[in-house]
Amino acid sequence: MRKEDTVKLISAEGFEFVVDKKAAMVSQTIRNMLTSPGSFAETEHGEVTFPEITTTILEKICQYFYWSLQYASILYDSGKESEFHIEPELTLELMMAANYLHT
C-alpha cells in the first residue's frame, strides 16, 4: 500500500489508525479536510488528529468506514445485507462522533 493512498487518524489518547484514503472519505468531514483546495496541514501530511474522540470509538468508526464501503458494493451486486453491530455501551459516544464526522 502506497503512503499516498492511506490516512493516519489519531485518537485523543494518541493511538494511530492507518486506513485507506477511500475508506476515510466515507466521512464527509474528513473528505473535506483532505480534498479542500487550501493547504490544510491534514492534506499535506495525511494525518488527522481527533482530540475529542477516544481510541475505542475511533476504532469502531474505522470499522464502519470499511463496512460502509463493502456494504455499498454488496448492495449493488447481490442485494444481500450485512449488519454493522454496535455495542449498546458505545452508542451515544459513537453517535456524537459520527455526527461530528458527518457519516
Binding site: E87, T91, L92, L94, M96, N99
Partner: protein, 602 residues
C-alpha cells in the same frame, strides 16, 4: 427517485445506526444509560431523534426524561396515552425547550400543566383535544409570556378561559377550534395585535363578534367554519379564509381596503345569492378555491378568478353547461375536482385543450364514459387521474376499424407525466387494461372490478416504477401470484377481495418480498411506525373530518400496545364476572375510567 436514494443512504449512515442500536431494546437503553447521567453535550437534533425514536418504541419513561434535560428544543408527544403529570414534571425542568406538543394526550389535565409555568424559552404549546384541560389550566400559562403559538382546540376551556389569554400578547397563532368562544370573549382578545392565525371553528361568534376581527392588523389566516357568521367585514391582511358550513350572505363590504385573498375554503357552505356573496371580494389573486358540497348553483363568478390553480367543485351543482366557464380560467389550473357532479364526457370535451397545466383531475362518481378518456389524453400535464365509479368501460368503438372495439385507455399513452390512475368500481375487463403495461411512468394504480383475471396482469412486471398496485375484487389465481415478479420499486400490493388466493400462497409471497406491504383479508399486518406519524393537517381539513381522521389514526394505533397479546378489547379477554370482580379487587391499580361505563352502573 433521487430523494428516495438519499433516504436509503441515510438510513445506514452511522448516526442512524447508532440511534437504531440505542433504541433497540430496554436492555440496550439500560446499558448506555449507565455510562452517562446526562446528555449535556449531545446536539439537540441528535437528542430529539433519539428521544422520539425511544418514544415511538415505548422505551421512554419519566426517569429517563431527566437525562435529556439539556438537549431538547422540541418535543412531540402527540397521541401518547400514557403521558401524564409525572412526565410534565420532568419536562418543566428542560431549560431550552421551545416547542411542546401534548395534543391528544388524555391524561394531561389542568393541574399537570403547573410544572411548565415560568418556562421562559417556550414559544409553542399544543394542548389540542386534551379534554381535561380547563380554565384553571389556562391560568398556568400566564407566566409564559414568550408563547407565540398556542393550540387549545377541543379542550375543556370555556369562554371565560379564552378571555384570560389576552395577557399573552406575543401570540401569533391561536387555535380555539371547537371551543364555545363568544363575541364578548373575542373582543377581549383584540389586544393580541401580533395575531396572524386565528382558528374559531365551531364557536358561538356571530356577525357582531366578526366586526372585532378588523382590529387584528396582521391576521392572515381565519377559520370560521361551523359558525353563525353570515357577513364578514373587510379584513385587508387576510390571505386564507375558511367559512365551511356557514350560511353566507356576503364576504367583505363595499368600501375600504379589502386586500387580496389567496385561499378560500367554503366546503358545504350555503349561499342565498353567490354573486352577492362574492361581489366585494377581490378574487384576482385567488389561487385556491374549495366549493365542494356547497349550494352554489351558478358559476359566473369564476371568470374573474384568473390565477386560480386549485378548484374543488365536487358534490356541487356543476354540470356540462358550466364547463365552458371553467375552460375560460383553465390556463392556470393545476388541480380540478369534479367528482360527484353531473359533468359528462361532453363537459370534459369542452375542458380539453383549455387546461394545458392541469396535473390532477378527479371525475369519480360522474356519468362520464370512454369518450372522456380520449379527451383526457388532450390534457398534456396530467399526473393524476381518478375515474372511479363512472361509466368508463375501457373499450371504445372505432368506426371502420377492425376489430370494432379497441381499449380506450390506450389514448392515455400520450400523457408523459401520468403517475397515478384510479379506476375503482368500474366494470373494466381484461382487454381494457392491456395498454397499461406500456405506461412507463405509472407509480400508483388501483382497479376494482370482478371482471379482471390473471390475463390483465401478466405484463405488469414491465411497469418499472410502480410503487403501489391495488387490484381488488379480481379473479386472480395462486398461479399468477406465484409467477408475479413485482417491480423493485413496489411498496404496497393491495389484493383485498381477490377471493381465489389462498393464505399459504399470500404468506409465501410476503416472505419472499418482505419490503412489500400486502393487504388481503387473510393477511393481518400490524400498522407500521410510519402510519402513526401521519396526522391530518388542520389547515385544509374541515374540523369534522379532521376529528374523524384522528379517531381513525387512534384505532389503527391500538394493536401497538406494549403488551404483546392478541386481545384488543379487555371485555373480550375477561368474562363479565371476572371483570366485575376486578373492578373491586384492584381499584388502586385500575383507574375508574378503564372499566366500561355499563359495568360501573351495576
Amino acid at each position: 427517485m433521487a430523494s428516495e436514494a438519499t433516504v436509503e443512504l441515510e438510513s445506514r449512515c452511522l448516526v442512524n445506526l447508532c440511534i437504531e442500536a440505542a433504541s433497540q431494546s430496554r436492555a440496550a437503553v439500560e446499558k448506555w444509560r449507565r455510562q452517562r447521567r446526562s446528555l449535556e453535550r449531545l446536539p439537540s437534533q441528535l437528542g430529539e431523534l433519539l428521544f422520539h425514536r425511544l418514544l415511538r418504541r415505548r422505551l421512554l419513561n419519566p426517569s429517563l426524561l431527566e437525562i435529556f434535560k439539556h438537549s431538547m428544543e422540541r418535543i412531540d408527544l402527540r397521541g401518547e396515552s400514557y403521558v401524564d403529570a409525572e412526565w410534565m414534571a420532568y419536562i418543566g425542568a428542560y431549560p431550552y425547550l421551545q416547542s411542546l406538543s401534548v395534543a391528544d394526550c388524555p391524561k394531561i389535565s389542568s393541574s399537570s400543566l403547573w410544572p411548565i409555568t415560568g418556562m421562559t424559552s417556550l414559544t409553542e404549546l399544543d394542548l389540542s383535544r386534551c379534554s381535561k384541560v380547563t380554565d384553571s389550566g389556562i391560568r398556568h400559562l400566564f407566566s409564559i409570556p414568550t408563547l407565540e403559538k398556542l393550540c387549545i382546540s377541543e379542550t375543556g376551556v370555556t369562554a371565560n378561559g379564552v378571555t384570560l389569554l389576552s395577557s399573552l400578547t406575543n401570540l401569533s397563532l391561536l387555535d380555539l377550534g371547537g371551543l364555545r368562544v363568544t363575541d364578548v370573549a373575542l373582543s377581549c382578545l383584540q389586544v393580541l395585535k401580533k395575531l396572524q392565525y386565528l382558528d374559531l371553528w365551531g364557536s358561538e361568534i356571530t356577525n357582531n363578534g366578526a366586526t372585532v376581527l378588523k382590529l387584528f392588523p396582521k391576521l392572515s389566516f381565519l377559520n370560521l367554519a361551523w359558525t353563525k357568521v353570515t357577513k364578514l367585514p373587510n379584513l385587508s391582511s387576510l390571505a386564507c379564509l375558511n367559512m365551511s358550513n356557514c350560511s353566507l350572505l356576503s364576504i367583505y363590504e363595499g368600501r375600504g381596503d379589502k386586500g387580496h385573498l389567496a385561499e378560500l375554503i367554503l366546503t358545504g357552505a350555503t349561499f342565498l345569492d353567490v354573486d352577492e356573496a362574492f361581489l366585494h371580494v377581490d378574487t384576482s389573486l385567488l389561487s385556491f378555491l374549495d366549493l365542494s358540497n356547497s349550494s352554489v348553483q351558478s358559476f359566473w363568478f369564476l371568470p374573474s378568478m384568473c390565477v386560480l390553480e386549485h378548484l374543488d367543485l365536487s358534490g356541487s351543482a356543476m354540470a356540462d353547461e358550466s364547463a365552458e366557464i371553467i375552460a375560460r380560467i383553465g390556463a392556470n389550473l393545476r388541480f380540478l375536482n369534479l367528482s360527484n357532479t353531473r359533468v359528462s364526457s361532453a363537459g370534459v370535451g369542452i375542458l380539453a385543450g383549455h387546461v394545458s397545466n392541469l396535473e390532477t383531475i378527479s371525475l369519480s362518481c360522474t356519468p362520464i364514459d370512454d369518450l372522456a378518456v380520449s379527451y383526457l389524453s388532450m390534457m398534456p400535464s396530467l399526473r393524476v387521474i381518478n375515474l372511479s365509479n363512472t361509466n368508463v368501460r375501457g373499450l371504445i368503438q372505432q368506426i371502420g376499424a377492425e376489430p370494432d372495439w379497441v381499449p380506450s385507455l390506450a389514448a392515455l399513452q400520450n400523457l408523459r407525466f401520468l403517475e397515478r390512475l384510479d379506476m375503482e368500481e368500474i366494470q373494466v375487463g381484461d382487454a381494457a387494461l392491456e395498454p397499461l403495461s406500456t405506461f412507463q411512468g405509472l407509480r400508483y394504480l388501483s382497479v376494482k372490478s370482478g371482471f379482471l383475471t390473471d390475463m390483465s396482469f401478466h405484463h405488469f412486471s414491465s411497469v418499472q416504477e410502480l410503487i403501489s398496485l391495488s387490484i381488488r375484487d379480481a379473479v386472480l389465481t395462486n398461479a399468477w401470484l406465484d409467477s408475479f415478479h413485482p417491480p423493485s420499486t413496489l411498496k404496497l400490493l393491495d389484493l383485498r377481495g381477490c377471493w381465489l388466493l389462498t393464505e399459504d400462497v399470500l404468506l409465501a409471497f410476503c416472505h419472499k418480498h418482505p419490503e412489500i406491504q400486502m393487504r388481503h383479508e387473510l393477511i393481518h399486518a400490524l400498522p407500521s411506525d410510519q402510519d402513526r406519524s401521519k396526522h391530518p393537517s388542520p389547515r385544509r381539513a374541515t374540523p369534522r373530518t379532521s376529528r374523524w381522521k384522528q379517531q381513525q389514526a387512534k384505532v389503527s394505533m391500538l394493536p401497538l400496545g406494549p403488551v404483546k397479546d392478541s386481545f384488543i378489547d379487555q371485555r373480550l379477554k375477561y368474562r363479565r364476572e371476572e371483570l366485575l370482580s376486578l373492578q373491586f379487587s384492584s381499584t388502586l391499580l385500575v383507574p375508574v375510567g378503564s372499566v366500561p361505563p355499563e359495568l360501573q352502573m351495576e
